[in-house]
């Protein structure tokens, strides 16, 4: 067998049924949408969707890394908000603050992620619990910091440019950023020792540990990365809206988890491809878009979300039967 055909087979295998189903659903949604309005298939609409999807895509990338380890990051809402608020806050401190706004926001996210990582990897607290707690603490810190009001600081020009500008005409910067992060993630997962270790730990942490992998450091790093990516998502969202807001991250937790899981990544860890996450992110974004275009109220959107996720999970996300 030649190397090329082996590679090709490897690629085909990564297209597991879940990823194909997700892409199938995307096509289905577009077709359904086009019955409602012709504009659903127009390049402008699709590009706009891609732009909206990018924010979720960046956040879901971090979530995927953590889910691949068999963990979960529930601190997304306030990590997003912290990243956004801290970046905006830094902007108030003169030119230096303005320059360092974006890295500072991301750094705050990495800090939250590191905290999560230490709790999960070194203290062995279930990730669900420790990330819920850090989410609460981050919220508490932000409430104290902002005095309970929406922060008055506004986003820097750089943040606005990244989120709304277009370096290459026609392609929004944020799409470009997502593509870069995505490419880096694919490289990380497929070509580096870190990526192999992530899959290994997700499959069987015990076996990975006994193989001499420093599992704790890798778990901690993954959480830090997830925190950093969430915060970066927050920074971009603040740029998009020109300022940060108290509950700006709430709308990203469920969609991020849903995107990762709908894209075929096992919630138990160890299995999943980034392509699937991309599909999941686009699928969720389109679903949201169509629900809002059809004037579906928030209540209906929540219900449809929940039901769609459960149905898709029942289709292919089930644990094997015990007997």
């Amino acid at each position: 067998m030649t190397r090329a055909t082996e590679r090709k087979q490897g690629f085909m295998r990564s297209l597991d049924p879940a990823v194909l189903t997700a892409f199938g659903c995307i096509v289905l949604l577009l077709v359904l949408g086009s019955f409602y309005s012709r504009s659903f298939l127009s390049p402008e609409y699709l590009l706009q969707q891609l732009k909206v999807a990018s924010f979720l895509g960046i956040i879901a990338t971090g979530m995927m890394l953590v889910v691949l380890l068999g963990q979960i990051d529930l601190s997304v809402p306030w990590t997003v908000a912290t990243g956004a608020m801290m970046a905006c806050a830094a902007a108030a401190y003169g030119p230096l603050g303005t320059t360092l706004a974006i890295p500072f926001g991301i750094l705050c996210g990495i800090g939250i992620g590191l905290f999560n990582g230490v709790g999960v990897a070194y203290l062995r607290i279930p990730s669900m619990i420790v990330t819920l707690a850090t989410n609460a603490v981050a919220q508490g810190v932000m409430v104290v910091y902002t005095g309970g009001f929406s922060p008055q600081d506004s986003a820097t020009a750089a943040m606005r440019y990244l989120a709304t500008g277009a370096l290459i005409p026609g392609i929004p910067n944020v799409v470009f950023i997502w593509a870069l992060i995505g490419a880096a993630m694919v490289f990380l997962l497929r070509r580096t020792g870190f990526g192999r270790a992530v899959y290994g730990i997700g499959n069987r942490e015990r076996a990975a540990y006994l193989s001499g992998i420093n599992t704790r450091r890798i778990v901690m790093t993954a959480f830090a990365a997830s925190g950093g990516l969430s915060a970066f998502g927050g920074v971009l969202l603040a740029g998009y809206a020109s300022k940060a807001a108290q509950s700006m991250g709430d709308a990203y937790l469920l969609p991020a988890i849903a995107a990762v899981v709908l894209g075929g990544t096992s919630i138990l860890g160890g299995r999943g491809s980034y392509l699937g996450t991309v599909a999941g992110v686009i699928l969720i974004t389109l679903l949201q878009s169509i629900l809002s275009v059809t004037q579906m109220p928030e209540a209906g959107r929540q219900i449809i979300y929940g039901v769609v996720i459960i149905l898709m999970l029942l289709l292919y996300g089930r644990a094997p039967a015990s007997r």
């Binding site: 087979q9 290994g200 006994l210 420093n214």
Partner: protein, 513 residues
């Protein structure tokens, strides 16, 4: 009762797991008031047979009759209801519940829909007394009991169901000698009370003491049934292995040069599991770890590999004392240690990942440059290992779980050999794999030793220890009871020292004239 027909009978039982045949046209017939010993090598199908009997798994084919009536058990509960209770090898106790809760678990006494705690306590105390363990407190949590006591609770739990047939699967393997004799007394009393007992054990002396009837299994089929005492041990062993078992092992090099040891321990102790273990391991040598299962062999290997915390005593590599805090440190260049773990499903392999990913997992540090995998290097290292171990995998990008058990075990070994370890620790590496692969592994071990590796080899199969090892350390209750070398390594010596029987050596020397 004496000469009535069999109480329970199984005929033509077949069971497959995936493509692997566990039982083929097997049968068993037990009578009341007798102890029926089931013998066979590991993987001969004994465990599957009793799981079918106890309703844990369903047979693919075959019939079972109880009191000459055909029966079928859809679940363990159904088998219980029919009067069959089983003491499983892997404990079936709920760790967070109390002893009393566990004993009555399948059928607790209730009042007004709630569990009657007083009645429960009474039943538990009665069952514990019947199992010869009235000293266990019914309110103690199971997780707080030592393994040996848990096993007794397990027996009490089975007795509380008032069974007609009691199955014991390696029920004594975790027991201390004092508990074993208690359990034997209990079993004999139960026999006198008219129960049918099915007893699975690897220990010939236990069978000689207890059994009335024996059935030997090999490769999933029944070889023979006979009344206890009508066959010699040699005949029985011959039936179990069904072949001359010396030929499969490579020749030993004989006396080894007395060079400085690569690995040495002095008074190594850990918790209450390992006590003052001192031994040395030289390059080119295969040292076996013997003894009954669960006497600290596994803990010793884990201790050496840096997994256990709170070790006391000294570990020396190349003569200098070191402390190893994790497998990552153990595999480092200066030490070069590898551990082939006990359970390849949970400790050795990531079943859903590809053969390629599994093979490189222990060597990622060597196959990457700046964190990025060097694919050419990985490819050549993998190819080398595939050839060296003759791993039969259609496609190295297929999940390792799809390979046969033997080939999976080869992958576990290969993944470590890729690092060219100097010290190789093996934890029962041939369990549950086919004879052909076993033989390949024996040859490989000897070859690695000849090339300079130091090998510490724990096996539950005495024949392997005899056939492969230059020396054998026999562990009993966490300490080295005896060290056998060269021609001293005989089955008799191994069993005697494993059971800690001081002078069970055959009378080799004639009394001096």
């Amino acid at each position: 009762m004496e000469n009535g027909g069999p109480l329970f009978r199984m005929e033509g039982i077949s069971k497959r797991y995936g493509g692997v045949r566990a039982l083929e046209n097997a049968g068993l017939s037990v009578r009341a008031g007798a102890i029926h010993a089931v013998l066979g090598e590991n993987g001969a199908g004994k465990s599957t047979l009793i799981k079918i009997m106890a309703g844990v798994v369903a047979a693919d084919e075959g019939q079972m009759t109880l009191d000459a009536q055909p029966v079928k058990f859809a679940s363990p509960a159904a088998a219980n209801a029919a009067g069959i209770a089983c003491v499983f090898q892997e404990l079936s106790l709920i760790p967070e519940l109390s002893v009393a809760d566990n004993i009555v678990i399948s059928n607790p006494p209730t009042r007004f829909g709630m569990i009657d705690r007083k009645a429960q306590r009474r039943i538990a105390e009665e069952a514990l007394a019947r199992a010869g363990a009235a000293d266990i407190h019914p309110l103690a949590l199971v997780k707080d009991l030592p393994l040996s006591r848990k096993q007794i609770v397990e027996i009490a739990k089975a007795l509380a169901r008032k069974p007609r047939i009691l199955i014991l699967d390696e029920a004594t393997s975790a027991l201390t000698a004092a508990d074993v004799s208690k359990v034997f007394a209990v079993l004999k009393r139960l026999r006198a009370e008219g129960l049918a007992l099915v007893y699975i054990s690897h220990r010939m002396n236990e069978i000689a003491e207890l059994a009335d009837d024996c059935t030997v299994f090999r490769n999933g089929s029944k070889v023979a049934s006979y009344a206890a005492g009508t066959r010699s041990d040699a005949e029985v062993i011959e039936m179990m292995i069904g072949r001359e078992y010396h030929s499969v092992y490579p020749p030993k090099p004989g006396r080894l040069a007395q060079i400085a040891p690569v690995l040495e321990t002095r008074n190594l102790s850990w918790a209450d599991r390992l006590h003052d273990i001192s031994f040395s391991l030289r390059s080119g040598e295969i040292v076996g770890l013997g003894g009954l299962d669960g006497q600290g062999q596994r803990d010793l290997l884990l201790a050496l590999f840096g997994v256990l915390r709170g070790l006391r005593g000294t570990v020396l590599v190349d003569g200098s004392p070191i402390s190893i805090g994790s497998p990552a440190q153990a595999r480092r260049h200066g030490i070069g240690m590898a551990l082939i773990p006990e359970d390849r499903k949970t400790e050795g392999l990531m079943q859903p990942m590809t053969v390629r990913d599994n093979l490189s997992l222990a060597s990622l540090d060597r196959l990457t440059r700046g964190g990025i995998i060097d694919r050419a290097k990985e490819e050549s290292a993998i190819n080398q290992m595939m050839t060296l171990l003759a791993i039969k995998a259609g496609n190295i990008d297929a999940p390792v779980g799809a390979l046969s058990g033997g080939n999976q075990q080869k992958v576990v070994i290969a993944k470590w050999l890729m690092r060219q370890p100097r010290i190789i620790l093996l934890n029962d590496p041939t369990r549950g794999i086919d004879v052909g692969t076993k033989q390949e592994i024996y040859l490989l071990l000897r070859r690695l030793a000849d090339e300079g590796a130091a090998i510490l080899f724990y096996s539950t199969d005495y024949a392997e220890l005899i056939g492969c090892c230059d020396r054998v350390l026999v562990l009993y209750d966490g300490t080295v009871k005896r060290e056998l070398a060269g021609a001293e390594i005989t089955e008799r010596a191994l069993i005697a020292s494993a059971l800690n029987i001081p002078s069970a050596e055959p009378t080799q020397r004639e009394p001096a004239q």
